[in-house]
């Protein structure tokens, strides 16, 4: 036995709840190794003993072939003194909380579990809470780490003998599957009326389907919260949902039973298909096919649908031939956060839903569906929610920082043990409930990670809830300029540590000079930046109201150009126009802005006569939807170099738009020309900056790049001009990614 060696192995990463220990058990057994494996905090600790060749083989297998849902950040292998074990064992988790650094997101039900569910002979036949180590809820039911049943909301369901058997058997797919359960011992669905009072029915699921077919709206409790569900082919039901939810236009997400059904309503690339079907099951933005299979009011005036596939067993049960597409929208009142507690859902949704399909497993943290778009081969996250959050990315810094994000699309980021942990999307921080949820997510995530941040990074805007909250946390707060945060986040995502050019186009961000920025060309690193160019400033009137009423943006632009306002805004009350004009002349409630988002709003208001919006960036999104991609022309533009950097002038661009309007050019043409112009001007401006600063790496970020047509064009133009171009993929390039950028910037600032 003298040639027996012994090693202590630590694996860090997403290694719990993914079947890591049974896998290690099987692998170790296969190589005839002895020792043990256990969860430790959120890492896995292994001691193995055996001959060198077997240990080598074991390690090779471990690194090259880990379980499908596992992500290994690093493995450390150190010699161990004790060499003699009788067997290989899986030991109980240790409560040591030292290395909390990964939390597994919720996963869609796997194919094997679906087979169990479909099998009449299986004890889990048609059971909606079926899961195994490869699938099921995780983060949403988690109260604390390590990921053990006692630390989840499954702890109040004690396993029946059969489930316990599976749970204890290392050979079983459900070995240590923490939410393991069956119809005998697990949670159940029940159907209630609009007051939540339980209804007598043989099968809640069958009854729900029948109600859906009758055009009813059902609030269904799922993984991360409640959905409002209705038949997507029933126009009247959808219209009712819109009225009740006070959401007149914002597109609704669709769930289809299978990919084949998606193909009937959308064009789907292979990469999009793969994304739709991955086990994170996000909502994927797909181009509509030009057919009328589904009513227009699902996504009025838009060229895309948000579509997802079923991700819980229950979802699969809801479909049949006469029920092929369902509207699945977050269960909330417009503008507020998703309901996830039963009492809240019953009070808030009682006037929206006709019935409630509820289950008795508590949701510990609310989490919306994720939203993804695919650009060529790139998968871009627009909203980081279920399946993706909490997201963990490497960020090598010794500092423990909590970055607080912005005000809209709020999310937070912990820098902890050289990684960044980004929370789920938390909505707008304009309502008390959302703010309370924001604070509790900070506390819960902090506790799960066992993080104890010493520094707080926040936006410059003094009136953001996140900023004001940050100031109450402690003295060591670091303000990060909004667009610098966007740039730093893009750099950090690509693990870029040098100096580059940032092109940040978004709606609103407080600048260092007190004006509102948003069409920015920056030069700098993660730790510092200089504004080297921007869209020409314009005086906008009306603070947030200019954003909700894009005609005010148009008026502001036209006013500075001395154009005939009434001619171009015929559908706006003349007296109102005069008042705003006077207000502009007298600087009443006005601010200076270089925002690219507002420039898009202006053009959208002029061309589409969209005077009031009901969801964020609606006018600009509708403008993008109108683009005729066959048009290659563009408008004149000019860029002048001033003391304040390169200024992209808007005058000649707008003159071109107005000229086309006068000549009654179709909106699709004007929209395309406008997009082309901004793309070209951006590339030209980037070339000027390259010449002056001798930099070649470009980082694109900011919410305006949610516009895929613009992003594609700019990336194409920059690449053709030999720039090295980066943009966010894993972290949203809208304000949902702001926290990550703030964290990256703050870490660099602290490092000096």
């Amino acid at each position: 036995m003298s040639n027996f060696l012994s090693y202590l192995i630590h694996i860090r990463g997403i290694v719990q709840g993914v079947g890591m220990r049974p896998y290690i058990y099987k692998t170790a057994k296969a190589f005839r190794l002895t020792g043990f494996v256990k969860n430790k905090g959120s890492s896995v600790e292994i001691v193995i003993s055996g001959e060198q060749w077997a240990i080598d083989g074991f390690l090779y297998e471990l690194t090259s072939n880990p379980p499908p849902n596992a992500t290994i950040y690093d493995i450390s292998v150190t010699p161990h003194t004790k060499a003699h074990f009788r067997d290989f064992k899986i030991l109980h988790s240790s409560q040591n909380q030292q290395m909390q650094d990964s939390i597994l997101p919720d996963l869609a039900v796997c194919e094997e579990c679906m087979e169990d569910i479909r099998n009449r002979q299986d004890r889990r036949f048609e059971y909606a809470f079926t899961n195994c180590t490869n699938c099921g809820p995780r983060y949403s039911i988690l109260k604390d780490l390590p990921y053990d049943r006692e630390n989840t909301s499954m702890h109040c369901f004690s396993m029946c003998p059969q489930c316990r058997e599976e749970y204890k058997n290392p050979q079983d797919r459900r070995f240590h599957a923490q939410p393991n359960c069956c119809p005998v011992c697990g949670p159940k669905y029940s159907l209630g009326n609009c007051m939540g009072e339980p209804m007598e029915c043989e099968s809640p699921v069958e009854k729900t389907k029948q109600l859906l077919k009758e055009g009813k709206i059902i609030a269904i409790k799922g993984i991360g919260g409640y959905h409002l569900v209705c038949n997507a082919q029933d126009e009247a039901a959808i219209a009712t949902l819109r009225t009740r939810k006070k959401r007149p236009h914002k597109p609704f997400a669709i769930m289809a039973a299978v990919v084949e059904d998606v193909l009937e309503i959308c064009t789907v690339s292979p990469k999009e298909k793969e994304t739709l079907a991955n086990n994170q099951r996000p909502i994927v933005l797909l181009n509509k096919k030009g057919n009328a299979l589904l009513p227009e009011i699902i996504a009025p005036r838009l060229h895309q649908y948000g579509v997802m596939l079923p991700y819980t067993p229950l979802h699969y049960f809801l479909f049949e031939d006469s029920l092929k597409y369902l509207i699945m929208t977050s269960g909330n009142i417009s503008g507020m956060s998703i309901c996830y507690k039963d009492e809240d859902a019953l009070t808030q949704l009682s006037e929206v839903a006709d019935y409630f399909l509820i289950h008795n497993r508590e949701i510990m943290t609310p989490i919306d569906d994720s939203v993804i778009r695919v650009l060529g081969e790139d998968v871009l996250i627009s909203r980081c929610g279920r399946g993706y959050a909490p997201m963990s990315l490497p960020l090598d810094t010794p500092f423990e920082i909590l970055a607080l994000g912005g005000n809209q699309k709020a999310s937070v980021c912990f820098l902890h043990h050289k990684r960044a942990h980004i929370s789920q999307y938390l909505g707008e921080l304009n309502f008390l409930d959302a703010c309370n949820e924001y604070i509790s997510v900070i506390n819960r995530l902090g506790c799960l990670l066992n993080a104890n941040p010493k520094f707080f990074a926040h936006d410059l805007h003094p009136n953001f809830f996140s900023t004001q909250y940050g100031k109450t946390l402690g003295k060591k707060s670091i303000a990060v300029q909004h667009h610098h945060a966007h740039m730093a986040g893009c750099m950090a995502e690509h693990e870029f540590c040098g100096v580059g050019i940032g092109i940040i186009f978004d709606g609103t961000g407080m600048g260092t000079d007190g004006t509102i920025w948003g069409g920015e060309f920056l030069v700098g690193s993660r730790g510092e930046f200089k504004r080297v160019g921007h869209l020409e400033c314009v005086t906008l009137q009306g603070a947030d109201s200019a954003i909700e009423a894009p005609w005010k943006c148009a008026l502001s632009y036209l006013h500075t150009m001395n154009e005939n306002i009434e001619l171009y805004l015929p559908n706006i009350d003349k007296q109102q126009l005069q008042v705003i004009k006077k207000a502009l002349q007298n600087n009443v409630n006005c601010y200076q802005s270089s925002s690219m988002g507002r420039f898009f709003d202006c053009v959208a208001a002029l061309t589409l006569h969209r005077s009031q919006i009901s969801y964020e960036a609606q006018a600009a999104i509708e403008l993008e939807s109108m683009v005729d991609a066959a048009i290659t022309e563009e408008y004149d533009f000019s860029i002048s170099e001033t003391e304040g950097g390169f200024i992209l002038r808007y005058q000649s661009i707008l003159k071109g738009v107005l000229e086309d309007l006068k000549n009654q050019q179709p909106v699709s043409v004007i929209s395309a020309k406008f997009h082309n112009t901004i793309s070209r001007a951006t590339v030209v401006c980037a070339c000027h900056i390259r010449e002056k600063f001798n930099l070649n790496s470009i980082f694109l970020s900011g919410g305006v790049f949610e516009n895929s047509y613009l992003l594609k064009n700019i990336v194409f133009g920059l690449t053709r001009s030999d720039f090295q171009v980066f943009y966010n993929r894993k972290v949203p390039l809208n304000d949902g990614g702001l926290c990550f950028g703030q964290g990256a910037a703050a870490a660099s600032i602290l490092e000096g």
Partner: protein, 332 residues
Amino acid sequence: MTNKIKLYHGDGGAKTNELISQVFLKYYGDGMESSLSDSFVFTTKEAKLAYTTDSFVVQPLFFRGGDIGKLAVCGTLNDLTTAGAKPIYISASFIIEEGFDIEDLRKIAQSMGEVCKKNGVKIVTGDTKVVEQGCGDGLFINTSGIGVVSEKFVPSEIEPEDEIIITGTIAEHGTAILLDRYDLSIETDIISDCCALNHLITNLDMELPYIKLMKDPTRGGIATVLNEIAVHVGYNVELIENNIPICPQVKGVNDILGIDPLYLACEGRMLLVVKKDFGCRVLHALKIWGYKDAQIIGHFAKENQRLVYLQTDIGGKRLLPSLEGQTVPRIC
């Protein structure tokens, strides 16, 4: 802090407080405590007195519903009222720019006299200075006042469920000033609510024991003032949107301009914090005395995040943050 005075240092918000605490309080010692009160209350052998001062720099000097003189007297009377004091004497100092029209000065003096007479107070001392042309904006007035504090008014600790009353419709002064300063070509008959509120002390004589705090929502409007109070007492403030009295014209003008009237000044309204369960009684008394638009607009909540929010009619609780500086958009 910046090393130059900016306009925002005078807006009554966080920056003003920063200036006061870092520049003035440092040298004035304990005389000026940082409290919510606009008046200083002290006791002599004979009586409990309140003492206050205020400067007025409003533009335009004449506005719909008043002028700088009326504003100066009312402002001081109202500050004394917040301390539960019946005013007796007022001082008035004028800083006049060379070239100012004497007829205008006469009109201003006249309206000051009228307000005093109507409210039974006397201007007993004053001062007049003239500065060179270009060194002043026409006219600045400083007033101070002294009053006798009613024994029945004993400010006490605010607790959850205590009720909040406003004595009339909001934001009229702020809106009137906007309209007159910028000639916004809006047809309305909005006038400033500028008026003296010292009669509240006599009118509410029976109710004073149930009133825990009085505060006039001038600079920054009711949202700003309630934020200050929330920070001070340590509880959340919940307002009911539908209960806040606002005249439709004021709402209309501000809607067009994108201004939230909850942040606009009133110069003749009082916020009252009333002991829980006594809101209706105080409200009733107010109505009897002619405050027909008075309303219970909300209450203190038990949560201690010190936030102010509005229960909206669609069901959400919208935050009313304390705003720093100019109102700039927050939407990205």
